[in-house]
Point group: C2
Chain length 344, copies 2
Amino acid sequence: MKRITIRDVSERAGVSTAAVSYVLNGREGKVSQETATKVRRAVAELNYIPDFSARSLAGTRSKLIGVVIPQTEDQKQLLLQNPFYSELVCGIEARLRQSGYHMILSGVDKGEGYLDTSMQRNLDGAIIMGIYQESFYDDLKRVKVPIVLIDSYVNDSYFQTVSIDDEAGGYMATKLLIDNGHSNIALVTGLIRKDGVVEKRFLGYKRALKEAGLFYNSDYVFEHSVSYEYGQEAAAAIAAGHPEITAVFASSDLVALGVLRGLSDAGKRVPEDVSVVGFDDIPVARMCNPPLTTVRQNIVARGAMAADRLLKAIEEGEDSLADDPSVARLEMAIRQTVQRLTPN
Amino acid sequence: MKRITIRDVSERAGVSTAAVSYVLNGREGKVSQETATKVRRAVAELNYIPDFSARSLAGTRSKLIGVVIPQTEDQKQLLLQNPFYSELVCGIEARLRQSGYHMILSGVDKGEGYLDTSMQRNLDGAIIMGIYQESFYDDLKRVKVPIVLIDSYVNDSYFQTVSIDDEAGGYMATKLLIDNGHSNIALVTGLIRKDGVVEKRFLGYKRALKEAGLFYNSDYVFEHSVSYEYGQEAAAAIAAGHPEITAVFASSDLVALGVLRGLSDAGKRVPEDVSVVGFDDIPVARMCNPPLTTVRQNIVARGAMAADRLLKAIEEGEDSLADDPSVARLEMAIRQTVQRLTPN
DNA sequence: TGTGTTAGTTTAAGCGTTTAACCTTACAAT
DNA sequence: ATTGTAAGGTTAAACGCTTAAACTAACACA
């Protein structure tokens, strides 16, 4: 079954291939209404489907977007296990498809190799999440293509970003605990990198303490990695070594879930003995037991925003984007892991 | 910055473009060692990166694979929220990348449009998960390209599959409950479609009952959709209307989580009052409270198997695959939601 | 000496698009 | 009657690669 090409269409319609191409690409003013109609009829009759490889070769858009998400520690797998990233991907995909784009989803091996992918495939743009390798971004700038960053505070105005106010989020979460009468509040978190998401949340935590006149105790900061396992570990340490701690702010829901388990294993009840607040509001947050009180960001919407921004940059030029970086809204999802501390 | 082409390489190496192409594609016997070396040096010096669009146009492989996953009910979003699918995708991506392939991840609007994507992009193959639309598969057959199905019992030997023994899984789960002294066992499950995954599990459930000489009561089958919400709903109904039920087999972990919540809301304790078994062993199964006893399938591995099978079919021809359909192993993950029933 | 044969190399014709540049008309303005 | 211009069409080169077919040189064989 031979492929139907633009030439077949042109013959059927009795016009040149150029005319067909113009119609297909909606080049206003290049063709008459009449020709357009003939072409469209021929396209429909023949069930013509354009070949994107050829388009891309001929020097136009490939309508392909690269989406990069982090990998597991062992670098073997995508971190799609973390619902945060899968939600983002959902939001992105929906928007891209809707606009006739496709998404190449992939990880990167320690920052290497993405440049190749981008060139090989003539990607029209990319959305990059949570990669911290410096060199990666240097590479990225060399493919002259719009790029949107999510959750990576790279201090470089070359990149577009779609972020949330992480500092405010950290503040809100901590404030909630303080308002409920807690004063010995632990922070369990991933590695605090300069300019990273995690640092911002940490800063919010400190600000809330300070504003409330509470003492910031660095012993209460448990910093290691964004994982269920670490949450569990940290909770065990808290239960064992710091009976005075009555509340935990986990800077990610995944970690919070681990904390819940660790606490429960240590015989502490949540929220009766210890209150817990998470961050992100991934779907499991409401499914777990007890349902997790957390800082909600609409992750899917954030993915969609990123896609929108990217498409706009691609189709209307980078400058069409005002330099207001889009910042998504945050709110508390109050559920059942925080309890007012009643002095006994 | 102009693109480096195969022509640049050929000039630098002092050979023809054909020679370069042969070296790049590892055509043994077409080129001498000497030429190969010269070419490789030139490639390295110029940092040449091939253009896949051109390759694809020139009639060879595109090294692009389509991966299709189901969408949410409203057809708006990918069902990546279900960790089952994200895990599969992880497994697939890792294997594909390793072999120099890329993955276009997308959903399909009610079975439509995938054919277009496949043709537009000259996809080398596809991995399709859990789509039930009949017409979709008819379309699929028209693009003469290898296809691997996951979780879709389409009765058509045209497609490769990577499955699990769902019937056995259903049997194992139910048997576990029976062995623990339960006899009034509810099944909470998605829609039971002819030849669907869910039906197989249902059949396993029935077989276990029968073998144990237990009466199969269709009132104990709660059948609607694979979602947390439905699990919750069904659990409420069970707690309210069937106090005699002491155990629930949920045919998917997501549903099981809902059941946990519904039961807990109704004041039933798990596993003291009611035992629960899930299916899949998604990551949250061990994170939830109490940790869920479930039928474990190594989902990531299954994704990788699918990718392997597909790549083999692509690179060595469909027939290189013996018609042993790959079937992944299943085992019980015993955790804390099943308790021996002690007659009181 | 001619004739194969083999291994290695090159030539050049595509693959399906896009698009600059060119060619017609038709019509208005001079 | 000539020129100008705009609108609508067409031609053909280019994009970067693969690959069948043609070519060449070196060697062995009768």
